[in-house]
Point group: C2
Chain length 361, copies 2
């Protein structure tokens, strides 16, 4: 964690911020290692404080040794402890995460600080640091991905046309949990036939059926990290239309894997898939972005999507882990999506997801 704090301090220096108050749970955990459900970090060039309550005292010492505990209690509520720290550290300004602090919390802090220090709203200070995964994070992500792959392989062999979407989702959940997942990374999607035309369908009581596309989007959460993987399978014989569409998505996916490399702007990664899908006549049927970073959050930076006039598209960097998930969705017929997690390397990218692409392989 010391390295992460060093990186944060460099980011603060670059923005000329004397101190940052961190409250977003994933950012708090990333910087400190602390897994409790309540806590605030205050990081300055010289100090690293963690404010939490008595439930978590023992956990702080074990998980967040780089931070000094300040114990919040009924008698010592957080705003008062923050004022004490401000006085002690001689701070006159504190940046805070405005995308996470509520208006009510902000008002409470302003009041408690009694104008001894001002609060400056900032966004995306810690998040960019989280985009590059370190060795520990990659180890956990690989374990999470392997668990996801194994659960998919174990379950897909047992699916039949009469299995319902909901039953299949439960079989996947059991396989992931028994395999060692702490939880699901997100509610699994099992969407057969027309249900697959919505990219975020919920499993229904409809049977999977035969000869039609079945989208399975799943992943485990392990030690705080998420896996994310999608396969589109068919029970029985796929028809010519399925193969036509599947081939377009698979080729789009292949082109992205072949083309991903550090330095490539994120929107150009998206274009590698989108241009192929559009050229095949399905441009309108690929309504979402190509992919997203994955780590302590299931959706984080980088965002691999179309360029937007308002949003710049930063170049990809080695060490990023992102999903690559092109898809085609056709109302009344269904959808095809193929999603792998990949690691950006100096040479290009390494595909981390290893589950078979089709149940026919």
């Amino acid at each position: 964690m010391h390295k992460r704090i060093t990186h944060l301090r460099a980011a603060l220096a670059e923005r000329e911020l004397p101190a940052l108050l961190v409250s977003a749970p994933a950012n708090r955990r990333y910087l400190s290692g602390f897994t409790g459900s309540y806590g605030w970090l205050l990081v300055t060039p010289s100090a690293a404080l963690l404010f939490t309550d008595s439930r978590y005292t023992l956990r702080v010492a074990r998980e967040a040794p780089a931070f000094t505990l300040r114990q919040v209690s009924h008698e010592h509520p957080f705003p008062k402890l923050l004022l004490a720290a401000v006085t002690e550290l001689g701070l006159t300004q504190i940046a805070f995460e405005s995308a996470h602090v509520t208006v009510a919390e902000h008002r409470g802090l302003v009041k408690a600080l009694k104008k001894k220090a001002t609060l400056a709203p900032v966004e995306n200070v810690v998040e960019p640091l989280r985009e590059i995964k370190d060795a520990d994070e990659l180890t956990t992500l690989r374990r999470a991905i392997a668990l996801t792959d194994a659960a998919f392989s174990a379950v897909v062999a047992r699916l039949t046309p009469t299995t319902t979407e909901r039953q299949a989702a439960w079989m996947l959940e059991l396989a992931m949990r028994v395999g060692g997942a702490d939880a699901l990374a997100f509610p699994s999607i099992v969407a057969a036939g027309p249900n697959g035309a919505q990219p975020h369908a919920s499993p229904s009581d409809e049977p999977l059926g035969s000869g039609r596309p079945i989208i399975i989007d799943m992943g485990v959460r392990l030690d705080g990290y998420h896996a994310d993987m999608t396969r589109t399978i068919v029970l029985g014989e796929p028809d010519a239309r399925f193969w036509a569409i599947y081939t377009v998505v698979a080729e789009a996916h292949r082109r992205v894997i072949a083309g991903l490399r550090p330095g490539l702007p994120a929107h150009e990664a998206d274009a590698l898939a989108r241009e192929h899908i559009a050229a095949a006549g399905y441009g309108e049927q690929f309504g979402h972005g190509l992919g997203h970073g994955v780590g302590l959050a299931i959706h984080e930076g980088p965002a691999l999507r179309r360029a937007s006039p308002n949003l710049g598209s930063a170049p990809l960097r080695a060490g990023m882990v992102t999903s690559v998930e092109p898809g085609i969705y056709i109302e009344g017929w269904g959808g095809v999506r193929i999603e792998d997690l990949v690691l950006l390397t100096e040479a290009g990218c390494e595909v981390l997801s290893q589950a078979p692409k089709l149940n026919h392989e």
Copy 2:
């Protein structure tokens, strides 16, 4: 839902608020029935609008027929749609939920509204309405509680001294999910011996063991509603110390059930248990409040706890559903907690939880 909107409008009129923007998920669901993960409600004396995106269009019509859909999109972001609604409805002030809206969201809304309407922070407008459960809510809560009771009874018979806390928690989870739960209401607590001395212990790989107290705190989530139940059991023969402590907690629990009635201030309900536990010499070992409301949130109003100089204690009302969960926690030995959900009735209260109190019964 129409009745709930009517109650909200009365609450707004009483506070002289011309419009309320609702964004807290449980409040949004309570007022509209809408279960999507993203959305804002705007309620005025004459209008009820629901802003969400294309993922949920079909769901709005099905779940929230009392609301008019305003579809958020890339071209029509929420702040712009809010400005349009403000203009259309002639609003000059909108109250918003300051405990849920972030500083960044607030800034975006202020900017978009271009001073045509001001934003007024409010808290606890919808939450008090949620404290009184209507017939539909009680039906769902009773189902959630029955599922929880059944899972406990099925699993407790299969526990042995070599079962680990983590295995027991997984057995409970399986029983709840297979029984029909949508999810757990919260991560189950299974805490044997000294582990039970922390009211919020996480299940470990330690075996349950024989002759020592095992706290099991569990509940299902069903159709958005939560159950919450705690039992303290012993595998093998309890010793005299267990019975001494158990008897104090059970009597404290009994006194609360006998004494709960509409009109009783919440802190006096807490005192019914606390005074008995303190008289037995364990006052310092009962560190948490007596109970909390349960519904669309696992913790909601009313709060049954000690009176605080800053916090008034409102009288209990018929229709409230609250936990009653006195406990005694002794470092190095363990804990005893007994928790039921109860419904406040005109005559007193009805105990909803029906699981056996001990595995010896």
